[in-house]
Amino acid sequence: MNFRKPTGGAIDRNTVLRFTFNGQLLTGHPGDTLASALLANGVHEVGSSVKLGRPRGIVAAGSEDPTSLVQIETPYSEPMLLATTVELFDGLEARGLAGQGRLSPEPDPARYDAKHEHCDVLVVGAGPAGLVAALTAARSGARVVLVDEQNQAGGALLGVDEYLDDRPSAEWVADIVAELKTTPGVLVLERTTAFGMYQDGFVLALQKRTDHLGFAAPASVARQRVWRIRTKQTVLATGAHERPVVFANNDRPGIMLASSARTFLHRYGVLPGSRAVVFTTNDSAYCAAIDLAESGVDIPLIVDARPEAPARLATECAARGIEVRAGHVVTGTEGSSRVTDVHVAPLGDGHPDTVVCDTLLVSGGWNPVVSLFSQARGKLRYDSSLGAFVPGEELASVRVAGSATGELDLNACARQGRDAGAAAVVAAGFTPGGQVPLPVSDSRCTQRTGLVLWRVPGDEDASFVDLQRDATVTDVLRATGAGLRSLEHIKRYTTIGTAHDQGKTSGMIAAGIVAEALGVELADQRPTTFRPPYTSVSFAALAGRDRGELHDPVRVTAIHRWHVAHGALFENVAQWKRPWYYPRDGEDLHAAVLRECRATRESVGMMDGSTLGKIDVQGRDAGKFLDMLYTNMMSTLKVGRIRYGVMCGVDGMVIDDGTVIRVGEERFLVTTTTGNAAKILDWMEEWLQTEWPHLDVHCTSVTEHWATIPLVGPKSRDVLAAVAPSLDVSNEAFEFMTWHDTRVAGVPARVCRISFSGELAYEINVTAWHGLAVWEALMEAGSPYGITPYGTETMHVLRAEKGYPIIGQETDATVTPQDLGMSWAVSKKKPDFIGKRSFSRAENLRTDRKQLVGLLPVDPNVLLPEGSQIVETDRLPEPPVRMLGHVTSSYPSAALGRTFALALVRSGHERVGETLYVPVEDALVPVTVTESVLYDKEGARRDG
C-alpha cells in the first residue's frame, strides 16, 4: 500500500531508488530517509525489542528516535543506525535489529579524516533561531561556523508547512543560507552533528559526507570527518524534542510522536497511516492532526488530556470533522505488529471507549535539547510549566537560543537567535552589522503551555518508559521501592536512558515518574548527567587517518634504506626502526647473531647507531650542570676525552646512561639511549629552567644531525685507516676514550674511541646527509676483512658478554647504579648530584638488594629464557615460592662457546660461585652465579 502523497515534500519523485528492507524490495525517492521510505511503503514494524522481543516501529523522525534501529548491509555493513537518520540511496540493503548490531569482519574500505576549524562564533543548529543567530554574527564580519545535523537547513521548519512573512518557510530559509554561504568567513556545515562540547570553546562535530551517496560515494573522499572546532563564542540553537506520554501498550508500531508524523508529511510527503487518533497534552498536536486530515488521513479523534480544549483549534477541528475529547487520555492500545485500536477514557477514572485506527499520534510536550549546554557545565533548571529541564544560567561564552531554552514560539525563537548572535559577536570583539528582520509565522499553534503528564495509570508492566530497553513503569516503581532515590541509581536499576538514544525522549519522563513515586519535587532532583557524544560516532571516524602507516610516526635513520635493501629485520625501539639482525639465506635469529658476533669479535663489524640521543651542552657552567645530572664527575673530564656516565632520578634509580664527550672548555656532547633521547633533553631543560636558571648552560638536540656508525672489532683500525688517511689511528695517537675530528671517506667526521663490546672500536659520526655514503665506504673498505653489518641483537650479545647493562632491560626503575655494580661510576667527591640523597635511605642500604650478576647454566647448551625467575632450592616448594631475582638477558655466545645470562639476583654480588636454580617449564635448571663480566675480563682486546 502506498502512503506517499502525490505532491509535497522535499523529495524527487522523478527518480526512483530501490532498496531492500528485511529482504523485501521497496522503492523510495531522493530526499527520503530510510524511515520515510518505509512509512511510504506502509512499513511501520522495523525491529523488535531487546528484552521482550516485542515489535518496534518508528516513533520519531530524527536522531531522537528510540526504536528504529537497523543494520545497514550496503555498501558496507554498519550496525545500530537509526532508519530516521539514514538517507536513502539506490541499492541500500538494511534490516531491523533487536537492539543489538553486528560488526562486519570485512575491512572497512572507507577513508576518514579530521579537520581543525577556528571561529569567533559557532552556531549549533540551523533552525529559525540558529539561522538568525548565524546571519547576525556573519553580518558583523566575524568568522562564523554553522553546523546542523540535517542534510538541509531549516530545523523544525522542515516539518511544517508554515508561511513566514507570507511566503513558504523554505524560501525564508534559503535566503538566509544563501547569504551565509556567500559571506566571507562563514562556513556552513550540513549533515554535521556537534556531539561534544569541551573546555575553552572546543566543540567536536561529526560530518557525514558521503553516506547519502551510497554506492556512488567516491572512494577518495573521507566518508566522515570529525571537525575540531575551537570557537570564542557558541550559540546553541539545538531545538527541542517532543516527548510522548506513557500509557499501557504504548510501544506498538504505528504509535508515533505527533510532530514527527507532521515532519514525515511535510518533509517527505508521507502519511503515517490511514486512520490516526491523536493524544496530546498541548496545542502542537492539533496542527499535526489538521495537516494530516487535510492530506486525507482520517482523524476520528483528538484526545486532549487538558480539562479544556483550545477553543479556536477545536473549532478548526470540528470544521474538518475531527472530534476533540478534552479531559481524556489514552489508557491502552491493541494490536500486534501495528496498533489497531486505542482505548480512551476520561482522565482520572472512567469507562474506556475503544477507537479503531492504524496510527496513534502522541504529544506529551517538549524537552529542550540541553545536552551540549550541560556538557559545557551549564546548570539546568526545572521548568514546571514545560515539565522539562532548561538552561538555568548564563555562561560567558555559551548562549542558548530558540526552543532549546523552552521557548516554542517561532518569532520569539528567532528573536532569541538574533539577540544571542549579537551578544556573541560583541563578546568576540565585533560590532553587529545589519539587523536581521524577524519572521512572522502564520502558524495556528500559538498557545504554548500544556499539561505536564508523564503517564496514564494502567498496566504498569506494559507501560514502557524506555522503548529501546524495554523498561517499564513497573521497573521504575520497583527501583524506588527497593530504596533507590537518586535518578542515577534508578537509571542503572532500570537501564532507562542507556540505549543508543541515551534517553532523549525517555529520560525526562523517567524523572517525572520517579518524582511522582517518591513524592518529591522535580526541581529538587538532579538530572542525570549528559555525556558526550550527543549522538553516536563511529570508532573509525574518531581514529581518522591515524591508522596503518600513519598510526604513529616511524622514525628512520639516514642509512635505513640500506638496511632494508640488505634484508635487515627490524626492531621497534620507541618510534625508531632499528636493524635487529641481517639474516642470510636460511638463517634464523640465533644463526645470524652468532655469525654477526663472531665476525665482529674476530675481524670487524659495524652497526647503525644513529638513533642514540645526542645533546649538545654548552656554557660556562656546563661541567657543573653535568656534575649534577650524572652520578659521576664530568667537570674534570679533559677536552678531547670521553667518559661513560650514569643518570639517576631523584629517587636514586637509574634512568639513563651514555657517553659524555668534552668538545671544548665550555662544550660537551652527551649521548643518551635511543628511547630516552627526548626524555633526557626534557629532563635537562626542566632542571635548567625551573631549578637552576642561573646556570650558564644551553642544551640543543643534535640527534638527527649526526649519523653514528660504531665500527667494531680487531680489524676496525685497519678499516678506519683506509677511509681516514689523515687520521693517525695508532693506539698511542688515538687513545681509548678520546675523540678526533677528521675526514672519513672524504667528509668531515668526529671519531670517538669508545667500545660497547670490549673490542677495539671506533664510533664514526658524520652529518646525516653523508651517513649513507660513509656507511657504504666503510663496507667497501672493510670488505677485505669480511666486514659484517650487525643489528641490535648482536650489539646486545656483545655488550652482555662484557657485563654492560642496557637501560630498560637490566634496569626497571628499581635499580640503582650500585645494584648494577657501578659504584665506580658514583662519585664520592661531589657534595650532591641528582639521586645521591636517596642512596642513603634504609631500603638502599640493605645488603640483600637485587644486584646484577652473570649466570652460567651448568649445562652450557641450555639457554635460559629471558624473564625467567631464579630460586634458591633445587626443588620447588608450594607457592608462593621465594624468588631471588630474574634473568634480564640471555644468549648463546660464540665467544664463550656456551650460553650465558645476566640477572638481577638478591644479594647477587655475595653469591658469586653459588648454584641457583631457574624454573624453565617443568624443570629446574641449575646455574652458577658469576661476575657480570664474562668475556675478556682483563680488557686485553680493547686496544686491538
Binding site: Q199, F202, R377, R837
Partner: protein, 93 residues
C-alpha cells in the same frame, strides 16, 4: 581539551604541552642535611588540592619553555599563567 595560554606562544591545544605537577617545589639546598622523612617529602609528596592549584607546564611541542599556571582542578579552568621565575599571581584566595 584545554586551550592553554603559553606565556610566549599564546593559546595552544593541550596536546602540545607536558604537565609538570605542583609548582614552586624547590630542590632542597642541601639534600644531605635532610632527614629521610624530609627527603621523601621532596621526592614523593605533592599538594593535590581540589580547587586552585599552582602547577607547572612545559610547552613541549612549541617553545619548550616551562611556565607556571594556576588552574582550578575542579573545573580544569586556567586562572592564570606566568613565566618561570615570576611570582604567583594572587589568585588563590
Amino acid at each position: 581539551m584545554q586551550l592553554i595560554p603559553c606565556p610566549w606562544c599564546g593559546p595552544r591545544e593541550e596536546a602540545e604541552f607536558h604537565y609538570g605537577g605542583q609548582a614552586h617545589v624547590a630542590y632542597p639546598e642541601d639534600p644531605s642535611a635532610l632527614s629521610d622523612e624530609e627527603w621523601a617529602q621532596y621526592v614523593f609528596f605533592r599538594e593535590n588540592p581540589s580547587g586552585p592549584f599552582a602547577e607547572r607546564w612545559s610547552h613541549s611541542a612549541g617553545c619548550r619553555r616551562w611556565f607556571n599556571a594556576v588552574r582550578d582542578t575542579r573545573t580544569h579552568d586556567l586562572i592564570a599563567v606566568y613565566r618561570a621565575g615570576e611570582p604567583m599571581p594572587e589568585v588563590i584566595s
